[in-house]
Amino acid sequence: MKTFYWLVKREFWEHKGGFFWAPVVTGIVFLVLNGMGIVLGEVFGRKWGGLRFGGGDFHMQSDMSLADLRNVGAGIDIMLYTVAAIILGVTAIVVFFYCLGALYDDRRDRSILFWKSLPLSDTSTVLSKLASAALLAPAIAIVVGVIVGLVLALFLAVVATIHGLSLWSLLMEAHPLRVAMNLVLLLPLYAIWALPTLGWLLLCSAWAKSKPFLWAIALPVGSGVIVSWFGLMGLFNLSTDWYWKNVVSRLLGSLVPGSWVGNASPLVIPGHNDPAALLDSLDLAYHYSALASPSLWIGATAGAAMIAGAVWFRRWRDES
């Protein structure tokens, strides 16, 4: 266990730029852009005579009903989720390329010979890279995302206060802790759902003699094109779309945050004027209903098999 901890730590050392700085910088850029937006709004607002908040149906807090308050809180929660999703999206891109290089870069620069001179099993090496990609990096992104979201909420509160609107108490209606907790609880689902992509990328990384990126993209897309041309899926009474959706996009796109929603139970969308209800219907139970979809489990099994393949290649790939 101690060895595994150090193996993950090693990954963090090597990829601190991608795992930590990329989300942090994205967050800062995001805040700066929003800050600029707010400042611009203030400037132009003043020019055109006063800034009106939120259009017509936004009232002063004193005459807001309990339901309105609840909706403002939910709105802020949705903003927190959105910001976290943006940051997670950046991390997903980082993780995609991380996986492609994870078992390839050290073969290319021959530092694999140093790692292999230590009593580290290839299984724990590969699993430490998997854990870094599937758990560590998204966890960092979630933490950064929630913090950035809160800072943004703070921005808005400050601006609102300047305009004599006490958003502080509205902020209290948000549930940052619950948002953070929900995001953390979604992490296992994210990891399981992403397994086919993670496994495929790690497999390419461990197997390719050169250019793992090209192989990783070309094989699934190329197979998809061939299947489309010859209508091969007709043999199984399935459409070509089925192949793209269930094979190609699962191999390459499962890192996209929330990409499992197509496989969760059908969503009952409440009226668009009711963010609180929308949020309630998007709860953990809804997300985890994706566990009932065969695509998730077949994908996870395929991912595990590809990871086993990556371990095998890591053990036996002989360069010279």
Partner: protein, 285 residues
């Protein structure tokens, strides 16, 4: 003498070439063995087989384990420096030490710190900021702090200047080697390890063509400086090699009785380099 490595009929075929062709040898505990051969003779493949980095045919026993099956266990007792500058370029000196200290059960941190204190390496430096010689110093400090029973060195000093090369072997001898340990080294700079080896193996075309300890090497092979008048007589004794220096001939003999040679001229112990050249004649032809 307990054997650390026992290889019987070691063979390995790559697509286009036979890297190992039934190599058979044994390495005893407490020896420093030089595995010398021309490029492409199978040195590195042999080392990779011993380290469990490649598949092969034949029998191979390293410290009682099969490197193919028990590699993870084996690597607790075996360490290697494969080529210079294979340390990951992004790692910091202190992180490298931390990592090995926490993942290797036989690593002695105090020892490593003491070795590093003798160098100019700074804890926060990254490997990519170090010169090749300093990278080797770091690698050597890490490896020498591991209480391994077998240390394998594959061209450990390639591309280093002479100061680092001398220091490398000197550290190994003075601070690392003892009768519990075994060192297996390959290099092209034969002259530099000549004096530290206890055993010598020549490999050619995947076969071990010479396997001897250094003491019997001096008894078996002799170099004789022969004047022109005895040159013919010397050729009668079937020398391995003949070369000309200042009008005299130097003959290299294998297993010819000492008194017989002394009649011909001045008898010396041949250098490994000369012996190597004579043995490998025609390799690239």
């Amino acid at each position: 003498m307990t054997a650390v490595v026992t290889a019987t009929g070691l063979s390995k075929r790559y697509k286009s070439s036979q890297a190992l062709d039934g190599a058979t040898f044994q390495i005893g505990s407490g020896r420093i063995v030089g595995l010398i051969g021309p490029n492409g003779a199978g040195k590195t493949t042999a080392l990779k087989a011993i380290l469990g980095l490649t598949t092969f045919e034949g029998q191979l026993n390293v410290l009682g384990l099969d490197p193919r099956k028990d590699r993870d266990k084996l690597m607790e007792q075996v360490c290697f420096i494969a080529d210079v500058a294979v340390l990951p370029r992004w790692i910091r000196v202190k992180d490298a030490v931390d990592f090995v200290a926490n993942t290797h059960p036989r690593f002695d941190r105090a020892k490593c710190d003491a070795f590093l204190a003798r160098t100019k390496l700074q804890p926060m430096q990254k490997v990519k900021q170090l010169s090749k010689g300093m990278i080797v110093q770091l690698h050597l400090a890490l490896v020498m702090s591991i209480d391994a029973r077998l240390l394998v060195l594959d061209e450990p000093t390639l591309g280093l200047d002479i100061l680092y090369r001398k220091q490398f072997y000197q550290s190994l001898l003075e601070d690392y080697f003892d009768e519990e340990k075994t060192i297996l080294v390959t290099t092209h700079q034969v002259e530099e390890i000549e004096h530290i080896l206890t055993d010598l193996m020549f490999i050619r075309d995947g076969k071990i063509v010479l396997d001897t300890d250094m003491d019997s090497l001096g008894e078996r092979f002799a170099e004789v400086l022969v004047g022109a008048e005895f040159a013919h007589a010397a050729r009668e004794l079937k020398p391995l090699d003949e070369r000309q220096v200042f009008g005299k001939s130097i003959f290299l003999f294998d297993n010819v009785s000492r008194p017989e040679l002394e009649r011909l001229g001045e008898v010396r112990r041949p250098s490994i380099g000369d012996l190597f050249v004579a043995t490998m004649k025609g390799t690239y032809a």
